[in-house]
Each structure stands twice: as C-alpha cells, then as structure tokens.
Symmetry: C2
Subunit: 420 residues, 2 copies
C-alpha cells in the first residue's frame, strides 16, 4: 500500500493580508489524516488567476488529492470557478440541482433572488457537482491525470459539510488507505529539552512506523505518537504498547493521557466523582467559564460563574469584604481566597477557581507589575493558591492564567482523590 498524499490550497486575498486566520486547512488536515491520507503541503494564494493555477500545478506535482477552498462567492473578487473552468478546459453550465438549492435558500430566508445568485448555480461541465446543504455555492470534483481536485466554499461550516458527507467517503471508496493512528499525552512543569533527555533511550528504540512529536504550548508540553500501518488493529496494538511505556516514563509530570484540553480533563474528573464547579473571575473576564462551557455536557458539572471585573461586584456578589480589598488590594492571595469561598457559597458548588490579576497593557505598578496574577483553586478547607507573573500581551496573559488555574485545580482534585 503506497502512501496517498494530499495538498490543501486555500484561496482568498483575505488570507494574504492576514484579515482571516486559515482554520479550514487545520480542520481538513485532521479529517484527511484520520482516514490515512497524508497532507504534504498547504498553500494559500490570493484571488489571482495565475497564482491559483500555479498553486494547482505545484500541488498536483506533489500529491494525488488536491483540496481547494475559497473564492466561490457571488461577488467580482471570487474568481476560483472561472479559473478552474479554464484550467480543466470546460465551459460553465447551469446545474439544475444547484439552481434549485439557491432558490430554496433564498425562499427560506425571504430575501430577493438576483442574477448574481443564480450565477452560483453555474459549474464547469467537466466536474461532478458536490451538493452544498448549508449554502448557495456548490462544490466541484475534478479528475485529471490520476489526480483528484475538489473545490469547496471557504465558509467553514459549508466546507465541513461537503468534506464529511461527500469528499471523505468518496476518497475512501477510490483509494486503498493505511491506518494512521495518534495518541497524545500532556505534561506540565518540565521543559521540552528535559523531557527529550528523559525519554531519549525509549525514543531511540521506537519502531520506524511510530513517530514522536513535541508540541510545547503555554508552559506545558504535549507529546504525540503517530503510528502508520496497513492493518488497523495491529498498528493500534503497537501504538498502545509504546504509549504505555512513554506514560510510565513521564508519569511524575503527566496531566492527562488523552488528546484533550485541560478543562476537559477537569470536567471528566468532576463527572466521575459527582462534584460541581464554578468560577469567580476578575482578570480572565469569563474566559475560564467559556473554556469549560465550550464542551458539550459541561452543564452536568459546571453551575456558573461570577465575573467580578469591578471590585463592587466582588463585594456584592462574592462577599469579599471591603476591608480585605482595601488592606490587600484586589490582586492578592486574601482576595482570591475570599472570591473562591464566595463562589462556592453563592453558586452552590463543591469546587471553584478564583483569579485576580493585571493583564495589561496598563494597570501595573512597582509592587504588582503587569502580568501579576493570584490564583486560588479548590474548595473551602482545601484550596491552593499561587502567584504568577506573566510577561506577555493581554490575550496571552489571559490564556496562561486560565491554563495555570485549571492545572492548579486538577492538582487539588487529584490530591482529594488520593486522600479519599
């Protein structure tokens, strides 16, 4: 079984001036990877016919599957369709299915249908049309010299629908694909180099079918093992064996042995132990609560949050005394401790996270410079506090605070588990 390579080509001036972050490529790459197709290259070009054609030739020279997104809208700057039509030597014709889809969508939205929209139903006569259940622009499947080219809209949820419902199943049908399996664990408290030294002897004995990657982020390091093989069950067995050995080696630094964000590891623990959580957030402004509730099922263990951006809210809703605020300042161990206790009481939860800090760019002073954060995590009677000092921009300071707060909570939860 030979490896099947894919290239992803995303089209749009907005990608080249940085107004839009290309999230489509990462999503497509994950989906292709999961069915055993290797992404060799990702390219973004502007709405320029010559650049689009060049990118297609380049992509086809390197891979037998080329997935293309963007440039299929109804406006003048969208030139992907005529460019593809020329590239594959076809002419534009109306597709009846696509036309009906456009008409149905406008009828449902109760918006006037204009010439420009009807044009969206035109496709090159040398492609197979991929229905768009979520929008007006149809997808297009071309084949030429053994290479498949798929053109899809840049709107993420429209593209995702086509990939899931049509592109992946058809690729799986056409090609014989290997199993590509990943397992990932997350460590904290040690650097990438330290881990590399720690696991070097193990890494050197890894079979060639298994690849290790270090993914450092937010002061934590994710280790990912990728295994490839013709036979899924056998590949999984080899991967599991190596993964267990790796887990043993990094055990003292292990946060979770799944490819999941920290808040999901916290959520699983709470679920398993029938405990509830709330947050009292000052400097993170609701970000921790947002992280937790972005996962389906979080309502089973998460009850809510008080975002006490203003000190009066800390007093009124969390019961932090004005004296404590005056004596210690809002960014202090005393205040986050009182916030945590207030959150548990007011939200009626078993555990809470409380944070207060100065995220910048302004608001710091000599004693408490920008980046100073106090974190409390746990429950009244068993809580831990931590003072951090981050040196980054506002956004990253907020994200780091959330990460460290969730990690601190996880340590308290595990200590509670060990005691029980």
């Amino acid at each position: 079984m030979s490896k099947v390579f894919a290239s992803i080509v995303t089209i749009g001036d907005e990608l080249l001036i940085g107004q839009v972050v290309d999230t489509n490529s990462a999503w497509i790459a994950q989906e292709l990877n999961a069915i055993g197709i290797w992404v060799r290259q990702r390219t973004s070009v502007g709405d320029v016919a010559a650049d689009i054609k060049h990118a297609l030739s380049e992509a086809a020279a390197q891979s037998s599957v080329v997935l293309i997104t963007g440039g299929l809208g109804p406006t003048a700057d969208d030139i992907t369709k005529p460019t593809l039509c020329e590239y594959f030597g076809g002419r534009l014709v109306v597709d009846e299915g696509a036309l009906k889809n456009v008409k149905d969508i406008f009828a449902r939205l109760n918006r006037p249908l204009i010439e420009r929209n009807l044009k969206q139903a035109e496709v090159p006569d040398v492609c197979t049309v991929i229905p768009n259940k979520r929008g007006t622009a149809p997808g297009m499947w071309f084949e030429k010299d053994g290479v498949v080219y798929v053109s899809m809209p840049g709107v993420p949820h429209e593209m995702k629908g086509m990939v899931t419902d049509y592109v992946l199943p058809r690729l799986q049908q056409q090609r014989s694909l290997p199993a590509v399996l990943h397992r990932t664990l997350l460590t904290a408290g040690v650097g990438e180099s330290f881990l590399a030294d720690l696991i070097q002897p193990w890494e050197e004995q890894l079979p060639p079918a298994i690849k290790l990657a270090y993914l450092p982020n937010y002061g934590m390091v994710r280790l990912r093992l990728t295994a490839t093989g013709a036979d899924a069950a056998g590949t999984q067995a080899i991967l599991n064996e190596q993964f267990e050995a790796l887990k043993q080696l990094v055990a003292p630094h292990l946060v979770t042995d799944r490819d999941e964000p920290l808040e999901k590891a916290v959520g699983r623990w709470l679920q398993q132990h029938g405990r509830s959580l709330g947050t009292a957030e000052s400097c993170t402004g609701g970000y921790i609560s947002h992280l937790i509730t972005s996962h389906a099922g979080s309502s089973a263990h998460f009850k809510g949050s008080v975002v006490s951006y203003d000190n009066q809210v800390k007093t009124d809703l969390l019961g932090v005394s004005a004296d404590t605020l005056a004596a210690s300042g809002a960014v202090s161990e005393a205040v986050v401790t009182a916030m945590l206790e207030g959150a548990c009481r007011q939200l009626g939860v078993d555990y809470a996270i409380a944070v207060s800090g100065i995220m910048g760019p302004d608001g710091g002073n000599d004693e408490k410079p920008v980046g100073t954060v106090w974190i409390a995590a746990g429950r009244p009677g068993h809580l831990q506090t931590q003072r951090m000092h981050f040196r980054f921009d506002r956004r990253r300071n907020i994200e780091l605070t959330a990460t460290y707060a969730l990690y601190l909570l996880l340590q308290v939860l595990k200590a509670d588990e060990a005691r029980a």
Copy 2:
C-alpha cells in the same frame, strides 16, 4: 516603485496533521502589509528536509522576501536549522550572544541546562543572528541572489518579538516600499449579493489603485477597501474619499465604520456616553464577557457578569423567579428579560445583555430545538428581545449568539442616543 512580494513558509508536522492552527501566517501577513509588502503566497510543509528546500525555492521564485517560522526547537524533529545550513552552504558555529541568552534564560527559570539546549546557540556561519528576547532559539537572516530569507521560531510570541523589533525595521531600511492602506466597515442585516448590487455602480468607477473585498462572517458582511500608492498622504486622501462614498451607500446597514469587532464598537459607545455594562449569560457561558474584556480599557465601562449556567444560579444571583422558570422554561423571553433586569440590579450597571439557549448537540426538543436562543439587550424600561434559531455546531452557535446579542445591544444604544 515596484511591488515587493513576500512569501511565508511555516514548518512543522503539527501544521499538516491539523493539531495546530497556523495563526503566525495571518499575523505576519498583517505586519508585512502594513509596511507595504505584498504577501504572494503562504505555504506550510512538514519537518521534511526535501519539502522545506522545495518550499524555499518555490517561495524565492515568487518573491524577494521569504519569512520562515518553525522547526527551531531543541528536539530531534526540529530540522529547520540544519536544513537551512545545508541550503545556504554554511556550517554550524556557536553564536556567543545566543549562548549567553540560553544560559540567562535557564538561570532565570532555575532549570538545569543540558547539551541539547546549548545546541540552540549554534547557527549557520552564513547568516546574521536575530536576537530572541523571549526564548532560547535565535532567529536567522540570510541573503542570497537578492532574496532575503528570515527563519524564526514557531512559538508565536517569540516570532512576534523578532518581527517587530528586527525584521520589519530592517526590511524598511533595505527597500523602498509603497503605502498600502486599508479601511473597513461592517454591515448587518443584508447579504453579500444584495450589497454587491447596491454598490455596483460605485464599484465600477473605483480607481485601479483601490480594491474592494467582501468578507462575510456570522451573518454580517465586512467591506474592505485597500489603496496602494507611492505617496502615503495622497493615497490616504483618495481612499478616504471612496470610503465616505461607500459609507453613504450602505448607511442603512452600517454597524461600524472601523475595522473593529462589534464588542469594541459597543465599548466605544459606552465610553463616550459614560454608561456601564454587564452580562447575564446562560448558553454562552461567559463568552460575551470574555469578548468584551479581551480589549484593554474595558474595565472603564464593563463591571462584570453572572454566568448562570444552572437554573438555581438564575434564581439565587439574578432573582429570576422559580415561577417564571417553571412557567416559561429557561429558554424564553420572560427569563432573559428577568435575567437582564437582575443583571442591571445586581451588577449595578446601566445596560445589560442576557442570553439563554440550547447550544447543542443535545438538549433540544420539538418546541425548542437545538439552536434556539432568546436574547435580551438594553436596560430596564428600554430593552429589546429576539428569538434566534441557529443551525450550526456548538462553538459556532455560541459565537453567533454573542454576535447577535452585541448587535442587538448596539441598536438599543443607538436608539437611546437618538432619543436623547
């Protein structure tokens, strides 16, 4: 003055399997654009020497500036440095400045320094070293056949420091660059095609130095004008004139005439009028509060939020009566109205946003399917409510709810302004 083109090459297997979204490219593109350099192409390749070299040749064939990120870490999968060394025909030597930087960082972190880390101070003897003030891996500046190649770490804040402090100033010094200016406005309530028809006569008379782009997102459409010219003041004048004409044309649908997110437009209004805001969030779980507080200076007008994920919290902290909850259900006009009133009272704010809905994938029923959301925005005595039905995944449903809630609030604020 001829156009200066750049290509961005991002390196790392993690980009090709989709474990990491490439945010570096968008940021770099913005920065280059702001100094008058056009990004022609963005490419991501894996940690594979042949693919890296091929991407470099391709990039250099299209542009005279090639910015490279990633693959400079201390572990075995990081091969960018030796690959560049070979590509440019140099040999690795220790750079004393980079060595001192590595030692200082490990001393400050109080972590043991190992051989692997010292290797990070090695650089090809054919490059100029770019100091890394935020990490251990130095950047490298190569020049060959009139093309500049800059290699930087993939860690975003390390890369950003180098671009800002070193790369942009040096490129500006070396090249004669044109002014590239953007102005952007945001519309709501009408589709891309409708706008395109509305402004077609104006669009057709645009001078060639000005380009228009449609950027639809979350049911709103951003229109961006880009002007290029040798002379900054003259270019700005032409751009402003066309932008004002565009503004007049879309006036009934205009949300903001700045390139800013909605929450920032809301924040500016509150600031100007000396009013305060809070949120009461159920289904968005703190996301609206997070959006608002992600901007510096928000503490001047934003006081806080109650995330009432659990109904008990709606009652205890927002004063929503158990009767209302029982009679209308948590996702209802009556409940979001009561939440809004409770938020204004409890948080002591002038205006509030309240949302309650079913974000999915579970929790819907026939009467209130997944995606049903009630939004209230305004102040007691002058509030508007809206029922929405979103059809997407959980994440997008949350984001859409936040967008529509902020937009509803902005409409109430403008109505209040018109009355005053």
